[in-house]
Symmetry: C2
Subunit: 376 residues, 2 copies
């Protein structure tokens, strides 16, 4: 599948029926990009009214419902996912009937923080010191090796800072362990990073690779809040090199994001997401081709679109509430993406991409939006 020589695409995929496991905002944004390209969508998601359901057929079923997964696989021309915590067994069920990207191997590597760190280490990608821990005694032994401060995380199913506890001194260990709820965990050295950056990369069925400009991320309470795209970010070439190793090592197909800590001039991989990623949402309004379109081009075997930045851009998440639209949209260069969800504290309800012709203008507009959000 690594043949880059030109080949005819399958006419069946010209206007494909694409199945997506998960129907949240990422599924919605994939479908918005895909419908414009002539495709149609079916989603498998356990929620009653997930955001993407209005954009296609919705099979309401649990992610481990073998019968529903087989139905999705048989009805669609090919399958992808918007959510990395789909059970690997579900992906294997789909694989018996149809092609799914990314595949089971990539998911397995990304679902378990210990496997992820082992895989990254095997490629020579730096990661924080870590130990797998299964009990409080393990935590104490690991702390003795790694030192404080450290961070204890469940190995599986964590996102947006959930399932994490900081250990500032050995005295915090028992409380932190209790927060893991008995789940297998990982203790990681806490990196006193200067900044967080991420790269969104894409690899097609045909082995074609593309990398978006690196984004600088800020998190609040564990949730991504803001991504800035700096022209000629000094982290670009190192991040691309690491992403290339990860994508090629997994024979990966689709978009994948890697988050890094920048510390003392080095990039230390924090985690990877085998899907379109929040830190790549800026590409909707400020890249030649969005991450959503490129994910679809990649799985369809189509040529990838250019990943160049056009103009300047900042992305701000809308968490818990969306500012009054008259004020928000009166700020020039504001592009609202509203996921159509019910507001709830801490919930990602949408994001705003702010575009401008210069970095200064962009920063000023972003500040104005941040004031409306009430976060700065």
């Amino acid at each position: 599948m690594n043949d880059l020589t030109p080949s005819l695409s399958s006419p069946a995929l010209d206007q494909a029926h694409i199945g997506i496991i998960g129907a949240g905002q990422l599924g919605q944004m994939l479908a918005l990009a895909g419908i414009a390209l002539g495709h149609r969508f079916t989603f498998l998601d356990p929620s009653a009214q997930p955001p993407a359901a209005r954009l296609g057929r919705h099979i309401q079923a649990e992610y481990d419902d073998e019968r529903a997964l087989a139905q999705l696989a048989v009805e669609c021309d090919l399958i992808t996912l918007e959510f990395e915590n789909v059970p690997v067994s579900a992906v294997e069920t789909v694989t018996r009937h149809n092609q799914i990207y990314p595949g089971a191997q990539a998911l397995a590597s990304a679902q378990d923080r210990v496997h992820e760190k082992r895989y990254l280490t095997s490629l020579g990608v730096p990661v924080a010191a870590y130990r797998a821990v299964d009990c409080l005694e393990d935590v104490h032994a690991a702390l003795a090796d790694i030192g404080c401060p450290a961070i204890l995380k469940t190995r599986r199913l964590g996102y947006d800072g959930k399932g994490q506890a900081v250990i500032r001194s050995v005295a915090d260990a028992a409380d932190a362990w209790a927060q893991m709820g008995g789940h297998a965990a990982i203790l990681e050295q806490m990196i006193p990073f200067e900044r967080e950056v991420s790269i969104v990369a894409v690899r097609s069925v045909r082995g074609e690779l593309a990398f978006y400009p690196v984004g600088q991320n800020r998190h609040v309470a564990g949730i991504l809040y803001r991504t800035d795209i700096h022209p000629e970010d000094p982290a670009q070439s190192t991040a691309e090199g690491y992403a290339r190793l990860v994508l090629e090592g997994l024979d990966y197909v689709g978009v994948l994001a890697i988050e890094f800590f920048e510390w003392d001039g080095r990039l230390i991989a924090n985690e990877m997401a085998p899907r379109v990623h929040n830190s790549g949402h800026w590409t909707q309004n400020s890249a030649v081709t969005s991450q959503f379109e490129n994910h679809l081009r990649a799985i369809l075997g189509w040529p990838l679109g250019a990943t160049d930045r056009v103009g300047h851009c900042v992305m701000l998440n809308l968490i818990g509430t969306i500012p009054e639209r008259m004020a928000l949209l009166a700020i020039p260069g504001v592009h609202l993406h509203d996921y159509g969800k019910e507001p709830r504290p801490g919930r990602k309800l949408g994001h705003v991409n702010i575009t401008a012709a210069s970095p200064e203008q962009c920063a000023g507009r972003a500040d104005a939006v941040a004031r409306l959000i009430g976060s700065e």
Copy 2:
């Protein structure tokens, strides 16, 4: 409604249920823009599986079905249309239950070529010499006034060159009249224009106005084939002035396009379309805000988005057939918009927006796409 002082938007319209009369590709592209903004859609369209139906609820009914129109009006928060040949009576039915933009007056002016020319003339916007004709004797009398060559068109329901006949000499008159099928018609002076340009303009409920850069259009067999956006087009300020007169004169709300002939340094209005327009499709990939988003912002009473061009752009329609996607998408800067229709000769199946950083690069890419389309 012309008060430009800031006002709070209605919270009911933050995530609105928008009804669209018509569910073709224009309805589809309005909904793709609107769903990203948090809205949902219901379409009224007589076809069984129109392009936009996958993006919301579809009420399958004729455009003069009073009951279906009333249902649409009552269920939705506000109504718009993607198709200007909706009967004015249908718009009046909707108006009894809910707000519809654009309104009956604007539609009535645009549906009848004689009314349209009279209205434009009343504003001081130049039009070709014309006469209303109802029989062959009228055609001969009009030809005696206007001279040859002239063009005979049905007054109503013409689009993409349908219902038109060229009269090169008086001997053609009888044949041309026969082609009108007994319908009321208009005889127009045939303008030996140097080029065709159009302006897409938008006016909001609050009276805010915005104008997109003028596009230069080329038609093949009466169907728009290509739109080029030239930086600083010399027709811009004149076209904007005329569009302002038209929009304000009609108290118009939404996007409206006016096509002009450029002849001997003057702009002569050919026709206007009270809706989003094919010559504005380039705005999806090369304007800060697309015509589709701005139409929705306008009818919702939201601030309009910037209409500036970003980079360089050419739009090419895909008529009758779509080129092989592997070859098409391998050309950098190509943005495919596939309406998901069954191919049929002469049918608009999609369009391609070609973007680039320079006019020369853009022209080269557009030539490559045109070669694939087989049209140049």
